[in-house]
């Protein structure tokens, strides 16, 4: 019976699968970039995506003042207005996600590499003071006050700690990433206006059918997602392969020590890598809200895991692999849930990963960022 369903809805599933796959691929790029450069599973990247969805929400409601989901009422009159709104949301989520990724790098990873700076010290100090305040007082205002007062002396202490310049073992980075991810998610869940509930995002776009393909309606939001993702990925590939800074990224991915000797500012390159990943995740986040009209504090978790799965599927550290992995994962999830039922969707993704890794232990395209060529 379900076999019949998949024949009937095959092209539907393909279109939605490619759209979902594009989002996976954009987020996977962040994982793959950071892994290529630092050999680190940036567990908190999913939270960068989550921040992006909220940035898009904030831009739409608080900055642009758009109304919430209402049937038949859309905030634009002309196509130009619509494009402005979309670009504003996109820029909003890209900026906040990028900033979040950079802040994450400097606060949670850089101190472990033995080259922590003032910014990281201040962020860590504030968080420390805030948590200590949390234990002793329990009102948000006194917490915040305590956090701000405590930041100064604790930041000084962190700086003196950083000056020792100890390099932490690799597991420490991953644990720090897991910790940061948990802390960011929970912070949004605890102090967000709707706690652990779902947030509806304003419906920016009327989801009209643009054209028909194989008897399937191709909706405008899917077209935006797919085309947007392809554009962003092309831009990223051009950046990594053609620019001076991109060459720095590839150099660090190949060999950190040699790159350092040859005059590459490694810390800056790593920062740029995080920024690129954050911007890609921001774009993905905006498109996600465009299609699904909702977000939640833990929305990044499963999507992040899936995107990382996509990155591994394609071959981690490989930019084109991320694209391929994302598409394969998005499509097989859609076909699979039509075949076996939607509740098995996540199981299908992981089983697929397991099977691919058994036969191709370095992923489908299995290349490193350093060797990637276009």
């Amino acid at each position: 019976m379900r076999d019949w369903l998949i024949y009937r809805t095959f092209w539907d599933l393909t279109v939605t699968g490619v759209a979902l796959g594009s989002i996976y691929a954009l987020v996977a790029l962040g994982y793959t970039l950071v892994y290529g450069v630092l050999r680190l599973i940036n567990f908190a990247h999913s939270e960068i995506f989550m921040i992006g969805t909220f940035a898009s929400l904030i831009t739409a409601t608080n900055v642009l003042g758009l109304p919430m989901l209402e049937a038949g009422k859309y905030p634009y009159r002309t196509g130009f207005q619509l494009i402005l709104i979309l670009v504003a949301c996109l820029v909003g989520s890209m900026v906040l996600s990028g900033a979040g990724a950079v802040a994450l790098e400097r606060a949670a990873y850089r101190p472990l590499r033995g080259s922590g700076d003032q910014f990281g010290a201040v962020v860590l100090a504030f968080v420390t003071a805030f948590v200590v305040g949390l234990i002793f007082f329990n009102t948000p205002k006194s917490n915040l006050l305590f956090g701000i007062i405590g930041t100064g002396p604790i930041a000084w202490m962190y700086l003196s700690l950083f000056r020792r310049g100890r390099q932490a073992p690799r597991l420490a980075f991953l644990i720090s990433a897991i910790g940061a991810s948990t802390a960011i998610t929970e912070a949004v869940a605890i102090w967000g206006p709707r706690d652990r509930e779902q947030y509806q995002t304003p419906r920016v776009l009327e989801k009209k059918t643009l054209f028909k393909l194989f008897g399937t309606d191709i909706r405008i939001d899917y077209v935006i997602v797919i085309v947007g993702a392809l554009l962003m990925m092309t831009a990223l590939l051009l950046f990594v392969n053609r620019t001076r800074l991109g060459r720095g990224v590839r150099a660090v991915a190949q060999d950190v020590e040699t790159a350092k000797i040859l005059g590459v500012n490694v810390d800056f390159v790593i920062l740029v890598t995080f920024l690129l990943g954050g911007v890609m995740a921001g774009g993905a986040a905006m498109m996600f809200t465009l299609v699904y009209d909702q977000t939640k504090f833990n929305i990044g978790f499963l999507l992040g895991v899936k995107s990382f799965t996509a990155a591994v599927l394609g071959g981690i550290g490989n930019l084109r692999g991320a694209l391929l992995g994302g598409m394969v994962l998005g499509l097989s999830e859609n076909y699979g849930s039509a075949l076996f039922g939607g509740q098995w969707k996540d199981v299908i993704a992981f089983v697929l990963l397991l099977v691919v890794l058994m036969f191709r232990p370095t992923g489908l395209l299995g290349e490193s960022l350093a060797k990637a060529r276009v």
């Binding site: 050999r39 991953l174 897991i178 605890i190 799965t309 199981v347």
Partner: protein, 367 residues
């Protein structure tokens, strides 16, 4: 400021504990044994510790009875931390889906004692351990040939697969879960009922002590040395003739078995389980326990497990914010002490310390 001071005091405390251990090592065997016996007795009396004047005020848990915190949280977390420490700390394999094995253990007991059979708990428990060990082998065989980072994501997937499968399979009780799970049999005055949590604590503690004993034997054996070698440098270990795959699989299976053991204890205590008892976040908390305490050091893992389980109960004020605090704590501990609160003793240092005097006194004589 206060956090750094408390961290310092914790580390200096850990240092003085290890110094105490060294002092004790010099004493005669009878002194050591009696000291150990007193310590074990003190731990068995833990449920009554809140009655001690100053210490009791520190460790008491407002709002929840202390013995039930011990059994529901501390015992389980310590046992799980011990098991995960074998995988993460000793063999250096990153397992992000450890809750899967814990769930397998709990579900095995639930199925055999309530859902599909009526076996007593004592029969179910060893079966649960075996089944989760088998799950470890089944998961490990294809994945342990992969690089470490892939292992992390695959195990994470495994944890989710177990939970989703339990949630969607009627045979496993769906999302409603399984109730009326058998409790351990009562022995004399130890009645395993609903009212008194202490018997479960004594049982759990006994199990923990047995596990500690076995793991200590294992750590100092050929297997333990192989794990050390694999963790430090897998390629070098392989070159030196260590069958890395075999020993990694052993670590995985033993870790899984201990996880299943913890799961069976948990099922026997709460008598009702459903898939939402085994979220992925629990895996993260387990890993946090091991790394917080110090991966690779059994005492570190025990301390980490106890701390992670007990702290949220002690500070009820931030019970809803506890996961946030743990997240932050993980980052901060990694910044301060990347090797954990009680780090693994490094063999090399000890070896160097014993080696140096000889070279200083007479370097030329030997040539």
């Amino acid at each position: 400021m206060s956090l750094s001071e408390s961290m310092k005091s914790v580390t200096s405390g850990a240092r003085s504990v290890s110094r105490l251990g060294e002092e004790l090592g010099k004493q005669s065997r009878s002194v050591r044994w009696s000291f150990g016996a007193i310590c074990i007795l003190a731990v068995y009396l833990l449920p009554w510790w809140p009655n001690i004047p100053v210490l009791g005020w520190i460790i008491e848990t407002p709002g929840t009875s202390f013995p039930s915190v011990l059994t529901d949280q501390v015992v389980i977390f310590v046992l799980v931390a011990l098991g995960l420490n074998v995988v993460v700390g000793l063999a250096g394999l990153l397992d992000l889906g450890y809750v899967g094995f814990y769930a397998v253990g709990a579900y095995t007991v639930a199925i055999l004692s309530s859902q599909h059979a009526n076996l007593p708990w004592l029969v179910c428990m060893p079966i649960a351990v075996l089944v989760s060990m088998l799950a470890g082998v089944i998961l490990g065989t294809p994945t342990l040939r992969l690089r470490g980072d892939y292992l992390a994501i695959v195990t994470l997937g495994f944890g989710e697969i177990i939970r989703i499968t339990a949630n969607n399979t009627h045979w496993l009780g769906d999302s409603r879960g399984i109730s009326k799970i058998a409790t351990p049999p009562s022995i004399g005055p130890l009645k395993f009922g609903v009212l008194d949590a202490k018997p479960y604590f004594f049982l759990g503690l006994t199990v923990i002590l047995i596990v500690i004993f076995l793991l200590r034997r294992l750590e100092n054996s050929r297997v333990g040395r192989s794990w050390n070698a694999i963790r430090e440098d897998e390629d070098a270990a392989e070159l030196m003739g260590v069958d890395t795959f075999k020993f990694k699989l052993w670590a995985f299976a033993i870790g899984a078995a201990i996880g299943g053991l913890a799961g069976s204890l948990y099922a026997g205590k709460v008598q009702f389980i459903n898939p939402s008892n085994f979220p992925l976040q629990l895996s993260i908390l387990f890993l946090a326990a091991v790394v917080l305490g110090g991966a690779g050091n059994m005492w570190g893992a025990i301390m980490g497990g106890a701390l992670v389980a007990w702290m949220p109960e002690r500070f009820r004020g931030f019970a809803d914010k506890r996961v946030f605090v743990f997240g932050v704590a993980l980052v901060l501990v990694m910044v301060f002490r990347p090797q954990g609160l009680i780090p693994r003793k490094i063999r090399k240092e000890r070896w160097l310390a014993s080696w140096k005097p000889a070279t200083n006194t007479a370097p030329a004589d030997k040539e």
